[in-house]
Amino acid sequence: MIIAERKPMEEIKQLIAPYKKVLVAGCETCVAVCWAGGEKEVGILASQLRLARSAEGSEISVLEATVERQCEREMVAEIKDKVAEVDAVISLACGSGVQTMAEMFEDKPVFPGVNTTFIGMPEKEGLWVEMCGACGDCFLDRTGGVCPIVRCAKGLLNGPCGGTRKGGKCEIDPDKDCAWVLIYRRLEKQGRLDVMRKYYAPKNYRAVKRPGKVQAAKA
């Protein structure tokens, strides 16, 4: 799912500096699951903003609201009354949610309170790692289910590069595994190393022409 991380407090404070009444809007889907923007995080950020203003000696009114999925117009519409009361909105949803809010409430500045980082999964509780690059041309069949587009630092299709560190770690970060070593080991377990020995031609980087669009075949 989509993983996001709260923006630094300094940045958020600057975004809402001119405003006296703001809404912190959360989302109960991806960002709740990755502890960045669910109802709890909304409450924590709202507290921090009130405490910050109080420390500066000025006023702020902070409303809190959370919707099930901020990227759905119908669900966002449910909080329109709260949005109407404020001068600006900080959305803790992913970029998709922020933009949906911005579109639904065109007259209100909607600011992002988190940085949307990647599509990933929890390696363990509290630790999420990137898994998928949304490249539109999935070839996980050839790599034993390890994606080199995002898990290889250079996105190589015929890896590894010569920079693998001792123990199979990545050139750029000794705490990260070299994706191609992972691919080798996975295919070796499955007895499919012949798949790794094949030559893979350059990728179609235009498989998804941005901005992407997917139309379902039937209504």
Partner: protein, 297 residues
């Protein structure tokens, strides 16, 4: 006029290449110094391409200088900074000016360089680049269009005999050999048995490709320890570190040269592989000392 590298590979029993690294700036005076110093002492002279992801005067520029001064340049091309259009265009230009040896590399990650926020391209990887050059050598571009004016590069690539783990690297080496390369310049080796085993592996797949062992002099015990820890693919054995530690203060460079020369001699005498590729970036002026000490001048 230097003999074409392609021919030297076919005929000479021990091939020697060296490297020069361009400077950051439009000044070519240092490059010229190195070119004058080395062009007649080695069979081919590599020029690095934004090495370590640090922006510098382009490889192609110095290769042209080498050509103009009758040396034999080897153009290093990485996949980090240019997409497939740019690379193809560069190769057309290079060939038109007489540069016809290429070393195909993936390239270091942007993170190790000085423009850490730049976008990494990696539209191609090194294997795909080798295939690309073959395609262009046969008169077509990557999209299948006919070229008005063919090119004909002698193709080489790199390999890391000291990688840990080694097996995935060898899968890639095999792909490169199957794609077709005339020479391999390895990353720095310090344990000649590793080089020997690597050569045996390659020979099983391709008995014609020429393997040049990478020689990077190490000038101090601390530097050696640092390299072991931080530079991927490097494995300097303890006995060499001890030897360096025992060298009297101020003689580090000389010791490094001595060890390098010793390794080169051993490679040549025992025919461990087909030659050496000497990399002494920042100290290119000392390369002749290494060659001298190794008896190659």
């Amino acid at each position: 006029m230097a003999k074409p590298f392609r021919e030297i590979l076919k005929t000479k029993s021990f091939v020697v290449t060296a490297e020069c690294g361009p400077v950051k700036g439009s000044s070519v005076s240092k490059a010229m110094e190195h070119i004058e110093l080395l062009k007649d002492k080695v069979d081919g002279l590599n020029v690095t391409d934004n090495q370590s992801s640090v922006m510098r005067y382009p490889s192609l520029g110095v290769c042209l200088l080498i050509k103009e001064h009758s040396g034999e340049p080897i153009l290093q091309v990485t996949c980090r900074d240019r997409n497939r259009l740019a690379i193809q265009a560069d190769l057309l230009f290079a060939y038109s000016r007489g540069v016809n040896n290429i070393l195909c590399l993936t390239g270091d990650s942007i993170d190790v360089g000085d423009h850490k926020e730049a976008k990494q391209v990696f539209d191609l990887d090194s294997v795909q680049l080798i295939h690309l050059v073959h395609t262009m050598n046969s008169g077509k571009d990557m999209a299948g269009n006919e070229l008005d004016g063919a090119i004909d590069f002698c193709i080489g690539t790199t390999a890391t005999p000291s990688a840990d783990p080694l097996e995935p690297q060898l899968v890639k080496v095999e792909k490169k050999l199957k794609a077709g390369v005339s020479f391999i310049q390895t990353q720095a080796v310090y344990e000649l048995d590793e080089l020997r085993r690597f050569t045996e592996f390659v020979r099983k797949i391709d008995d014609k490709v020429k393997i040049l062992g990478g020689i990077v002099p190490v000038i101090g015990a601390k530097m050696a320890a640092y390299m072991n820890e931080n530079v991927p693919g490097i494995s300097i054995p303890q006995r060499l570190i001890d030897e360096l530690a025992q060298a009297p203060k101020g003689t580090g460079v000389a010791k490094g040269i001595e060890i390098a020369a010793r390794m080169i001699k051993q490679i040549k005498e025992e025919k461990i592989c087909d030659g050496v590729h000497i990399m002494f970036i920042g100290r290119e002026e000392k390369v002749p000392d290494i060659l001298g000490a190794a008896g190659l001048l």
